[in-house]
Subunit: 174 residues, 2 copies
């Protein structure tokens, strides 16, 4: 019972956290697409930063979207200079998508930004927060696998693991 109360309190704070992140983005830093990090174009950048030179088909599969949607986003990313497309030589149907240098920078910019607000935590709290996020994220992976055990999603999750392992590693390495 006490559990529920405390969980509720925390849940409220998480809502608050989400909202504040949202506002900070809208009003403060004009271009920090936190919300678009995991969708559409952003998703593609993440996937490519994990594994460059993928075909559109492959990307679409990994990202769980139709090839048409994928193509659209890739076109937009190309227009923005973040990816390049070239025909595969083995199979002249396939188009290989790669990150440009610009795109690589953009991806880093998007994922490796250390939110300013983390600076208010001291070492101990940071450590606690880390553990907590590990636990929570672990549970969410399980929940996702549980609720949606399709093949696609296995790929999907696999990719996420890779992407995010990389992000974690990168920021650790800096």
């Amino acid at each position: 019972m006490t559990d529920l109360i405390n969980q509720g309190k925390t849940a409220g704070k998480l809502v608050e956290f989400g909202m504040l992140q949202n506002i900070a983005e809208d009003d403060v830093q004009h271009k920090n697409d936190y919300k678009t990090l995991f969708q559409g174009q952003g998703k593609i950048l993440l996937a490519l930063s994990d594994n460059d030179d993928l075909s559109q088909r492959d990307l679409a599969e990994r990202l769980n979207m139709t090839p048409q949607s994928l193509a659209e986003f890739v076109r937009k990313l190309e227009k923005r200079g973040f990816v390049s497309r070239r025909k595969s030589t083995n199979d002249k149907r396939v188009i290989i998508v790669s990150l440009t240098e610009e795109g690589r920078l953009e991806t880093q910019r998007r994922t490796q930004i250390i939110p300013k607000y983390l600076r208010v935590l001291n070492d101990e709290e940071l450590q606690q927060f880390n553990n907590i996020l590990d636990k929570i994220n672990g549970q969410m992976y399980l929940d996702i696998k549980d609720a949606d055990p399709t093949l696609h999603n296995k790929y999907h999750q696999l990719m996420l693991n890779h992407v995010l392992t990389k992000i974690r590693t990168d920021s650790k390495d800096q």
Copy 2:
């Protein structure tokens, strides 16, 4: 230096956290509009749950959007049965927007859901998480105020405080 490394690690986990929340929403629980909680129609529900019977003008101001946008969202919410509109008697120009019972339930559903993943935290961790979120959120409020000290945003923030205080209180009271 060690600080930066740890902050980076945590930042990565936060990215992961955001992503997982996103996927869990897409694929698992089909209708948990977490991402639309603080935008458009969702924002309006939140504002009304804090302070019912507001004029459209008032809502638009509090929510930092144009009256036209506001009107559009209110229309949509009305269509979905979440709000009702009635003419003010004092001023026949203004339209008072109120939550219906449905709308009130919907708002609660959206904000008071206790994420399942919180159950993996024990009492101590929950307590730690609470403190951490308080600190972080407090800092974000400051950052927002700092970066954007317009009148609108003061109102905006005020409203948020109210809304979220209420949410916090509600979940505590349960």
